[in-house]
């Protein structure tokens, strides 16, 4: 599974111990790969350094601000939400993974395919749809008020955000767990059964422990996602760091406080990654036999349990996929029906912009990621592995923070590039480069070194071995990484809002401004377009992953 591998790789890189303390070689510094990597890494870290400077300008004032009761409340909110979403996404992800891989659930293929699809819906669009459904003047409220139900529990605040982000992130747990389940050696479970353990106790004592790395990865990713999510918390009015940062950024004439808050968010994200690394290193999993074990255990017969199981899956897909799509489709129908707006001419430009900027970023990021992945593979280079590890930091940083840092930095030091495409693409690249490196790395890990040795023994110089032997072998991995980057850029909101050149609109910014002006009929079509694009990219990635799993 490249998709999950990308996620897993990124955490694995961070947790790996540096290869035995070799001394830095002078040659390291001269190699073009190292120079390239050093340039890329400093490009991505410079803005952060500037953010730090900007925040410290406030001096003790900023510390007083941070320690105010209000900000401590924001901190508590962020942590509470991240933990809650990680937990609920894990429960949902585990259940769906187990039901679709290990049981005789009816319509298995349908659930297999639709299970990860909520991932194609950006959480801020999900939030817009849920406000329309469950909000104070929403569809459900209007349907219920004739029955005497005056007020639904409010969608705004913690419960609403929790529900919405969970619904659109549980696939981050589902995918790695499902992959891990498929790779498990059934012999261990069978042995435990033969020793008299009940099915339940086998699950708890044998299966679950082996799934822990996958679960840990998925949990980390959902928690990070929640910390950095901006659109859903803003729309559903839950005061987390991203919302507080954006509020400071947009409603105050002075942005020092936004910078201070952003630094705290960076610290939170880094703590999370470190925590996960500590946990994970104590949870190495072992199994007997080689990776060629593809034998699957017999399916569990659900019996009467299949009814609640079906209801659960149908409800999940209904809530995570059908309901939001139905809301968007009704708005789209409204817009097309009314015909009042020049719908197509208004949308052609943003749609083209999204496609072009995502494609260009995907290509550039893949080209940048490849040398870094090759560098990470060179075991002899501690400097190289450090550089790559630093490059991985980007993906743990919220898009809003990266954008903020770049705005500050470019406005002061790069006026020529400020509000231009290179800065926007740099912002995307800092955030999504790790996805590309990860995908390429996991493809590289599968390359049998004997091909490359054969190349060398036939007299090819090192770089030619890379280009003529290794590259063709890892091409699927690189393309998978590129598709991932494309998908994520197309969905990205906060960095796009802050960094896009003046007048440059994408589907996400178009949807955002339409909803800000409460023109819901203009949300439908661009949102559906965006989701269709995402779903396409996602299904390409997943289909290839399934292919590589079988082969």
């Amino acid at each position: 599974m490249h998709y999950t591998d990308a996620i897993r790789q990124q955490t694995r890189r961070l947790r790996e111990h540096s290869p035995a303390q070799r001394r830095l070689r002078a040659a390291d510094l001269r190699s073009p790969l190292h120079i390239f990597a050093a340039v890329i890494v400093s490009l991505s870290l410079l803005p952060l350094g500037y953010l730090f400077l900007r925040a410290t300008q406030a001096g003790t004032d900023s510390i007083a601000f941070l320690l105010s009761g209000r900000m401590l409340g924001v901190l508590a909110n962020s942590l509470k939400l991240a933990a809650a979403v990680a937990l609920s996404a894990t429960v949902l992800g585990l259940l769906v993974a187990w039901l679709t891989t290990r049981t005789d659930i009816p319509l298995r293929r349908l659930w297999l395919v639709s299970g990860p699809l909520p991932l194609a819906i950006p959480s801020f669009i999900g939030a817009i749809a849920y406000i329309a459904l469950l909000g104070p003047r929403g569809v459900i409220q209007q349907a219920l008020s004739p029955l005497g139900i005056q007020e639904l529990p409010s969608i705004y605040g913690f419960p609403g955000v929790w529900l919405v982000i969970t619904l659109f992130t549980y696939p981050y747990v589902l995918l790695p767990v499902r992959a891990a389940l498929l790779r498990l050696d059934p012999a261990q479970e069978e042995t435990a059964r033969s020793l008299g353990h009940s099915r339940w106790s086998v699950f708890w004592r044998v299966t679950l422990p082996q799934l822990r790395p996958a679960i840990g990865t998925g949990m980390l990713f959902t928690a990070l996602y929640t910390l950095s999510d901006f659109g859903a918390v803003a729309l559903l009015r839950y005061n987390t760091f991203t919302r507080a940062i954006f509020q400071q950024y947009t409603s105050s004439f002075d942005r020092t406080r936004a910078a201070v808050l952003a630094l705290v968010l960076v610290a939170l994200a880094l703590t999370l990654i470190t925590l996960e690394r500590r946990l994970a290193s104590s949870l190495r999993n072992y199994r007997a036999g080689g990776s060629s074990t593809l034998r699957q255990p017999p399916l569990v017969r659900l019996g009467w349990w299949r009814f609640p199981a079906l209801v659960f899956l149908a409800a999940l897909i209904g809530l995570g996929l059908i309901a939001p799509l139905a809301v968007l489709a009704s708005w789209a129908a409204q817009a097309i029906h009314s015909g009042a707006n020049p719908l197509y001419s208004a949308l052609a430009r943003p749609a083209a912009n999204t496609a072009v900027i995502s494609a260009v970023t995907a290509v550039l990021v893949s080209l940048t990621g490849l040398p870094l992945a090759l560098l990470a593979r060179q075991q002899w280079s501690p400097l190289g592995s450090w550089l790559v590890r630093l490059a991985y930091l980007g993906n743990s940083l919220p898009g809003l923070v990266i954008a903020l840092a770049l705005v500050f930095f470019a406005a002061s030091y790069l006026p020529g590039l400020y509000q231009t495409f290179p800065i926007l693409i740099l912002g995307y690249a800092i955030r999504f480069l790790p996805l590309s490196i990860g995908a390429t790395q996991s493809a590289l890990a599968q390359v049998n070194p004997c091909y490359e040795e054969a190349g060398r023994s036939l007299g090819l110089p090192g770089w030619q071995v890379n280009v003529r032997v290794t590259l063709p072998l890892v091409r699927p991995g690189i393309l998978g990484g590129a598709a991932l980057v494309f998908l994520n850029v197309a969905k990205e909101l906060p960095a796009t809002l802050l960094l896009a050149p003046t007048g440059f609109k994408t589907l996400t910014t178009q949807i955002w401004s339409a909803q800000n002006e409460a023109q819901m009929s203009q949300v439908g079509v661009p949102a559906l377009l965006l989701i269709a694009t995402s779903a396409l990219a996602l299904s390409l990635i997943l289909a290839r992953d399934r292919g590589s799993e079988a082969g």
Binding site: S251, S252, R255, F421, T502, G503
Partner: protein, 335 residues
């Protein structure tokens, strides 16, 4: 490298090379930072582009966001003009020395109360702060003499406002200027204790008044008329606090030329266009604001500006937004 990768590489380079050219590059070109929403100002600017051939790029955001952006950008700001929803943001830029003085042929088009005393910005349209009330829930005779009375027991839980809205925040800044910080803080705390209901924006406040969710709400005057266009019989009226009470602030949406502009002449042309008859007429009919130049009348349903007993205030003094934001947070009005 395979031929295919070479092709992809060259395509990528080509794409990066052509991307910047998507942005227009012309000597007759203006960059506008707009705190007014796109739906509202874009048609006017498009009209300007068609009539003059000058191209205009607009960056949209909240008024405070755009002001902060210009301050942050310093000498590197690409902005030529700043269009703001309220005078406070213009005052802040003026105080920071970021606006260029305007020539008298522009200034004299608008009454002195609606432009900068230092000639650094000018109002484009007027907007009155009002109390919208539901006539089935509020007896006209019981309407309060002052905005301060809304903190009284009689109005507990019956009033709505929009604390995150820029116009609301500017109004609170005006209260601070007119009544002092302590009185304003006390009033905010009393309103909060009086269970005043917070909404996302003016429109939501008004909708709640129409629905009878609340009896009255503090909004800008012009939000009512689109609702009346759909249903003239709505049980909602606007109330102007009498006798120069701080509640009846008249603020303006306005414009200033950023001091780093390379196009002062073109910028002035755009301002003149926005003060021209057709643009002012547009503000009157499309947004129901008060036109500020002579000879253009507001919508006949509006209370004429000269009949509103607004408090006397220098709108440039509304520049200190940060203290207002802190006060709103301190009193729990803002989350």
């Amino acid at each position: 490298m395979s031929r295919k990768s070479a092709l992809i590489l060259s395509l990528a380079l080509l794409a990066t090379a052509t991307l910047p050219s998507l942005a227009q590059d012309s000597s007759e070109h203006l960059v506008v930072y707009s705190g007014r929403s796109e739906g509202l100002i874009a048609p006017l600017l498009e009209q300007f582009v068609t009539e003059t051939g000058i191209t205009v790029d607009v960056r949209y955001g909240s008024t405070a966001e755009m002001a902060a952006t210009i301050l942050e950008e310093g000498e590197n700001s690409p902005a030529d003009l700043f269009i703001a929803q309220d005078a406070g943001a213009l005052g802040a830029l003026a105080a920071a020395g970021r606006l260029l003085p305007l020539p008298s042929d522009i200034l004299e088009r608008v009454p002195a109360a609606y432009r900068s005393p230092q000639n650094l910005w000018i109002g484009l349209s007027g907007r009155a702060r009002v109390l919208a009330y539901n006539t089935t829930l509020v007896n006209e005779a019981t309407l309060p003499a002052s905005i301060l009375d809304l903190a009284s027991e009689a109005w507990a839980g019956r009033v709505g406002w929009a604390p995150t809205n820029g116009s609301f925040q500017a109004h609170i800044t005006a209260l601070r200027v007119l009544l002092g910080d302590d009185a304003t803080r006390n009033w905010l705390a009393a309103m909060q204790a009086n269970r005043t209901v917070a909404y996302d924006n003016n429109r939501a406040v008004l909708q709640a008044v129409i629905d009878g969710e609340i009896a009255a709400g503090l909004i800008n005057h012009y939000y009512l008329y689109p609702f009346l266009d759909v249903n003239p019989a709505l049980p909602v009226r606007l109330y102007y606090f009498p006798e120069g009470d701080a509640g009846s602030l008249i603020n303006v949406a306005g414009v200033g030329i950023v001091n780093t502009t390379h196009q002062p002449g073109l910028s002035q042309r755009l301002i003149l266009y926005l003060l021209g008859r057709s643009a002012q007429q547009y503000f009157a009919t499309a947004t129901y604001e008060y036109p500020l130049v002579d000879g253009v009348d507001p919508d006949p349903r509006l209370t004429p500006l000269n009949l509103i007993a607004a408090p006397v205030i220098d709108l440039s003094d509304l520049a200190d937004l940060q203290t207002t934001l802190d006060m709103l947070a301190e009193t729990g009005v803002l989350p």
